[in-house]
Symmetry: D3
Subunit: 322 residues, 6 copies
């Protein structure tokens, strides 16, 4: 994931002692930045060519959920297509897709793989690949319904593709843990293992109702670093915050460390007001080996950026593990 | 509904390409504009004499819900009575009324008819008439409990009064479609027909949980234009947006067109914060035959105005029908 | 309602001190008495010609709910048609009817009126008339959805038809009170008044969750005698029992007396086992002026009969009023 | 599935016109037939050697759910092991199994495959194989949680194993449809397709809440015959009945016919009383090519048998299709 | 608790290997054994004079819940008063009591103490004492609402009265553990400690939803033996079974042993049908030092007796502890 | 409670006619004012030495709830300890405490008593005392779970300690009334009486779902003045507002007056956005005999101050009583 181009970055504010801090010009993508859009949020970004490419969730004013390709030189200023991605058939006949939301993107070997929440008799994990972010090829859904937050590892583990996901139900699911599954071919999936469960209310209440994988894992000396979201059910509904976990390099179903405190929780006005207030939902992370930029959906309405130093994040996760 | 006096109006902002846009000085009525009030919202306005009259919903600081008469020369600056409307007996003995909320007003033949959500062993549709917005005469409730959002047509259809409404239950009803009913005499109601149902989640999610009639229908060449609210159930509760429907002129139980996208959804701070955030709830529309002004409750707290050109709204509804 | 033919009857068992007792050969109609039926229950009977006619609810083995005509000489042994009633258009075009259940029958002036729970975008009250129980003419639904247990009075009250009903919602409604509505023409309904509400748990728990009208009211010196059902919500679901109310003769929205104890509650094996255990659901009552026979659905599966002396029932209701 | 030994059988009762009828000596296995058991039900049977072998669900008096092997010469009188099956590792390391229930068994090529509801952070589909019903080898769970009612086809379809299942959640799931998935190796699963959804309430209410595969499909000239359960949610909880479906021979994700009426619904005392009253839950079917015997759990307490002629069942399913 | 009079007893059936077995003539008290009663169940018995006295829960036909005194020579044949107990003021002014149900009785020092579920703005624990089962003196409620199943120890523990109870809510509580509290004077209560929690579903599902103390504890060499009820939530509602626990003699907040299997679960027709099917609810136990007789409510309708040998019950509890 | 030091104060804004108004520089304590905190709110303050001491609720970034001591000279600018209070054993062995939140403080005789919501198998009322806000001694929990909002009176009533509380359940309780209990020794509690119940929706909807004691009562000529919170359940969750009650001086279980209108409801941005929007939650009140300062949690995130004149508040409460 390391590349020579510069990742988006803002120095830590002077007064701040926080491990991660927000971009001062958040949100970087506004809710109306696609004509006819209601909101643009929960989106994924990867290095591409001289700059960056991304897959963006945008709900239109009919509140139909779809994903759009976009390009940027600096990872901050984006040109997002005005038409949603039209899929071609990948490793099977075309699969139904009532809706698409919450994409993630990862590069493996020779191509970019996109996963998202795909509407097939309820939410499950859709998969597609692209070489150029122009032509996309849709493959078999990974799982039976109901599932959300499917996140691929950026390389094969012991020769098989590996995906994190959160088994779910068909509504505003009030439970959810993170599992891992493997596939020899991106078509058939198996070897399902439980990776991380919600925390006890008394230990870490921000992640006591449900959790879900966020960014594609980043390989570090300590293991796979992954930003994830955790949810607490308040008397005004769900509140989504962001933490980090470090999974074992050889066997990523094993959690080595996991933040007991959150790294980022809704506190800015663009996070506390919007279509779904009090949501921070990470979907991608960039690193140059030293620094990390996290893209997160804010209030299910816009996109924000948060920054931190890789070492500090790893240290914090180790020193504040659940 | 066309009249020679000027309706409230604000030119479309230069950068805007939207069919409808907000009044730049929203909210036009503040939450405390009646002494002892907690909020003033979801209110109805009609041309009256040289200007306008209105019936306003205001909850007092005991959060008791009631309706108040008000007058305005320009439809923007209002003098609202400090005491709620006291009803006299209309076509029957006085009906119990535990509370009154969400009024609509319409002029038919020789008088103004007010409908509202009337507390009679739960919510149902109350009816009253007035000639002068001073004396109000309460009639029989239209229906058995439980019902909300009763909206009269501004003229008789085939010799009978016609009312849209939304059958409901006695709580925060998680379902709701729009029906039409007829009456020969404003006392007995029958010939109940289903008009519009909620949309599929995948087609138009902003109106997939419940819908309800908003403004009194406006007769146009295309049929009856009605602004209505649609609701989606998020993990933080209901979100109310506004769309438009065109009902058949002869048989208004038949929907000719209906906006798949919303026309207005909560996005301004006065719509996203307040007693019930993320609510846009239209209750009245004025037109001079060319332009349209819609009054809507914002966040169950204040009143906003939105504008558009009649032809553009009709075109948009036809071209973006569900 | 008095007639010269003998009503079904079984003497009070010697040991019994109860006001009402069961027919010793219950159930009188078995669940499979119509070919292809799953259950026959909640059905209504009236004197007809030399004997009796009835309208029967039967669910078939697809568990589709429909109503069937039947005839009997003695009110106990029934010949029920094997095909459900096919309606012709009555006072309007044909109304949709997704399903029909829980019929009641009453004779007014020159014809028999049937009411039932009619599936029109959810349950509401269907109305039809017949002169001969061969040809049935379906009229306008009385109300908007959602409603159940519509029961007509057997004569006009002050020149208008009168109907009891229970406003409801679209599921296993956990609330429900009895209302009365009037109509000049069996087409338009109004003047809705609340008649009876559920009892307090501490006063009469068997009727604390919901209540609904059962048999067509019988005019007595004390007023209109009506058998109704009451429901308590146990940790194993609803339990339905039967009580009686006496409504004012002139103004039947006024309850004069109402049994605090139930008259009949599930206790026999055919009432405690079946498709919906622990249900006693009265739908019709016959009287010869001295004695009363009540038809009730048992366990949503079969039909039972219960007997009592009119005077004793009236006395009991007066002396044990809520 | 045809074999020369005689399947369990009881002639159709003289008076009966039903397509399927119960064994006169039901239940064939009692709740206490294993020492220390609370109930024995929802169990699967296949031809084995000179007679039959089976895998039985039994809950012990701690209400721990487990599966037991058993043997029978005639399919009616069973000797069931007093100890639950102890698994050895199959195609992977041992999988956790908090509980095991509702087994199915099928013979493919050279061995017997057992599937069941396996407790792994909630219910999912466990898989094991055996050659002799003595040694069992547990394989990878087929799916992520949450899933129930995994039923294998008795032969490969286009070279891949095929399994029906019902995606679910972690409680008394109030929804559920039947899906099919494929695997090249009994380890990785994919190509998930929706097969059958619940029926509309108005069409076939007994199967309007959820449905799940029951017996292993039987290959017939018409396609794959499968007995399945359907559920209706009554005001006293779920009621389970049995129907049949015929799936396309080449592409079993396509339903050719499916019974609109049920074939068997709870009506006998041993089906209407027990730990969970009003449950008929088929888990296996035997055929000699002419006749069919279905094993079903009754009231989550005991095991019953039902019989029918294959041709009559196929005809009934075709002639009464949903 | 040992006395010289003979306790109710029936020899173990020959075929039985169970630790506890039912009285062959159950139920010993029928639902109508008090005139005007709907049900008699969940009742407590103690040795008294030459025989036994008891306090009985009976719901009348208005389904009002109350408690009645009764007397018996043999503990099996009972004469129960036809009028409910009328309380006199005990250690305070008279306390409101909207309803009384599920009594327990215990003898301490010089008098009999009765506890029950008392309706005071919801359920809490009522306390009264009597010397003769004729005059009863009501004391302060032990706790704030909401609480159920208050059971006193038959002697003081370290000089203070001790009571087991189950904190609860105001409906069909889907949770519940057993706590102990102490009082110096039967008026003020404190030192609340958690004693026993529900079991994990996978360990002992019959007691995984809620548990509550049943009989007054019996002092044995092993500690305090207490029969309690456990509840599992099925898709048809709650099912109540009976287990036993042995609490530490010196510090009864410490559980020494507790049955993983149940001792008795609903299986007889009088336990599986009735007002609330599938309920076994122990409220009292007698012992002569060798044998034990347990009184339990069956199906919230009648009273049953179960028997066992004290040593066998203790051994079983120790050998099958959770 | 009167003291000579000056209480925090801001003059009534000129335009305001309200009985109580906000401090112009609210919030006085920010969410991050303790290092590592997520929020600081719902906190209690008392006069102490030359200034003030307080006990503050702060949730850290693991969203663990705990209480912290703090000191201030003017009641506005606070120095709050960075470490939570560590308790020593008070009148018993140390009690478990999974979490601590929503503290109140009161001075009685010779020491300060702190009460809070203590996590002991669910929420109940924890009690501790301190002489110096440095050493705190934890005593027995007052009640069994589940309870919240325990508020002590600042002096003994008839020789016994008195505490208001709100019996509760183990989640986002949708009900709740205020009770009073007494104790001779801060260890054993009894004589539980209901004080105030929620209001009818039609009378005062802001307090129709639940209510809870807020500040420690202030003794006035009219009786005990207490600020409390009331909750309404909107379609976006709970909304908390503040009212006042005056309890009888001699018998504080008797309510003399109680505000039908609220005194303060969420309307400022810091009250309408935050972790739990639309919450005003009073926990303490100071008075100099003439003026009153109320400390309240805002949006479960920060602390605000509100002011009023004692006489005006008393008059308003009397003149606007429910």
């Amino acid at each position: 994931m390391t590349n020579t181009i510069s990742i988006p970055w803002d120095a830590r504010p002077e007064a701040s002692k926080e491990v991660m801090w927000r971009y001062s010009k958040n949100p970087i993508v506004g809710r109306y930045d696609i004509p006819g859009s209601n909101s643009i949020f929960n989106s994924a970004v990867v290095p591409f060519g001289e700059g960056y490419a991304g897959v963006f969730r945008s709900d239109n004013t009919a509140v139909q959920m779809n994903i759009y390709a976009g390009f940027s030189k600096d990872g901050i200023n984006w040109e997002i297509n005005h038409k949603p991605i039209e899929m071609k058939a990948g490793n099977t006949d075309m699969i139904e897709s009532d809706y698409k939301y919450d994409p993630r993107v990862v590069f493996i070997e020779d191509r970019y793989w996109v996963t998202w929440c795909n509407g097939y008799h309820g939410p499950t994990i859709g998969i597609a690949y692209t070489f150029d972010f122009i032509d996309f090829y849709q493959c078999e859904n990974a799982f039976l319904p109901f599932n959300r937050n499917g996140v691929l590892f950026p390389e094969k583990i012991n020769g098989r593709y590996a995906m994190l996901s959160r088994p779910s139900d068909n509504g505003h699911t009030p439970f959810g843990d993170i599992y891992i599954s493997y596939s020899p071919d991106m078509k058939y999936w198996g070897e399902h293992r439980c990776v991380m469960k919600v925390a006890d209310f008394t230990d870490s209440a921000w992640q006591c109702t449900k959790i879900g994988a966020g960014s594609a894992p980043i390989l570090t000396d300590e293991g796979w670093l992954m930003f994830y979201h955790g949810v607490i059910n308040t008397c005004r509904g769900f509140r989504y915050s962001m933490g980090a976990a470090i999974l074992d390099k050889e066997n990523p179903s094993k959690v080595r460390y996991r933040t007991k405190p959150y790294l980022l929780a809704p506190a800015e006005l663009y996070e506390m007001t919007g279509d779904v207030p009090n949501v921070i939902f990470p979907c991608a992370a960039l690193t140059d080996g030293e620094r990390v930029s996290v893209y997160y959906g804010a209030a299910d309405t816009v996109i924000g950026l948060a920054f931190g130093y890789l070492n500090e994040i790893l240290d914090f996760t180790k020193n504040n593990t659940l």
